[in-house]
């Protein structure tokens, strides 16, 4: 088992606390939300159509978080990039709302497929990110 996999909630040296923690989360969260908003603006969803923007944001965030959690914890990395950026780049609330909207627009099969794809592909992206980040780099011991 790779070291670091289970360190999600374990405090590490140099991790910001209190107000500094909240500042890190706010900054990362604002950045992640901006990217997701840009995707939503750039790839507008039409009624009954596959929500590409939300799926793209969710898969990208899963990939980055998977990699981040495979790297050593410490410093501002996890609050800023993990809880902040990845947490906000990905979204869950849009998923059931978009699924319900798809079903209401006469595409119930697409609604089920969209929800299932988001979770299955998201899990695959977390795994892929973790494997890429845990891979030994050329030149390192």
């Amino acid at each position: 088992m790779t070291a670091g996999r289970h360190r999600l909630r374990v405090p590490a040296a140099g991790v910001p606390r209190g107000a500094r923690l909240l500042v890190a989360v706010w900054l990362g969260g604002a950045a992640g939300t901006t990217v997701r908003f840009a995707l939503a603006q750039g790839v507008p969803s039409s009624p009954g159509a596959w929500p590409w923007a939300t799926l793209a944001a969710n898969l990208a965030g899963c990939l980055v978080l998977g990699a981040l959690l495979a790297l050593p914890a410490g410093g501002w990395r996890r609050p800023l990039v993990g809880a902040g950026f990845c947490g906000a780049l990905t979204t869950f609330s849009a998923l059931p709302v978009e699924s319900i909207a798809l079903a209401r627009d006469g595409a119930p099969a697409l609604a089920v497929l969209y929800a299932a794809t988001s979770v299955a592909a998201g899990l695959a992206c977390v795994e892929l990110g973790a494997r890429v980040a845990a891979r030994p780099r050329p030149g390192s011991a």
């Binding site: 989360v25 969260g29 992640g32 609330s93 929800a115 998201g122 977390v126």
Partner: protein, 126 residues
């Protein structure tokens, strides 16, 4: 509201949504004794509220700031799935499957409930 002001409002709301997720999720996790319960609670609450926003017919800047900015950032898929993977890696496959099922089924139920209730409130847009 449009242009740079809208972008700033969405980003700022997203920052506060992330802070609320850490605080509310952390509080639920401490009471429940497991990090994934905090994420699950936050996600179901966000789904309920996002369903209510959709059911009320909120559109334009209000939808961008509240649904996409605040609630979009308050909820998270990446943490939920990373916690699912951690449960599976720890040999708790049943808990991992249960977390996915509770998130998806609970999220659909919460969003549907929020949608149905707010669509019936006076003042909801058609």
């Amino acid at each position: 509201m449009s242009g740079p002001l809208l972008w700033a409002a969405v980003a700022g709301a997203g920052g506060f949504g992330a802070i609320a997720r850490v605080l509310v999720g952390g509080a639920i996790a401490r009471r429940g004794g497991a990090p994934h319960l905090g994420t699950l609670g936050v996600n179901l609450l966000a789904a309920l509220l996002a369903g209510a926003v959709a059911g009320a017919g909120v559109a334009g800047a209000g939808r961008w700031v509240v649904a996409v900015g605040l609630l979009g950032s308050f909820s998270t898929l990446s943490t939920a799935l990373a916690e699912t993977r951690a449960l599976a890696l720890a040999g708790r496959r049943g808990a991992a499957a249960g977390l996915v099922a509770a998130t998806l089924v609970g999220g659909l139920a919460a969003a549907g409930l929020g949608w149905a209730v707010s669509a019936r409130l006076p003042g909801a847009l058609p």
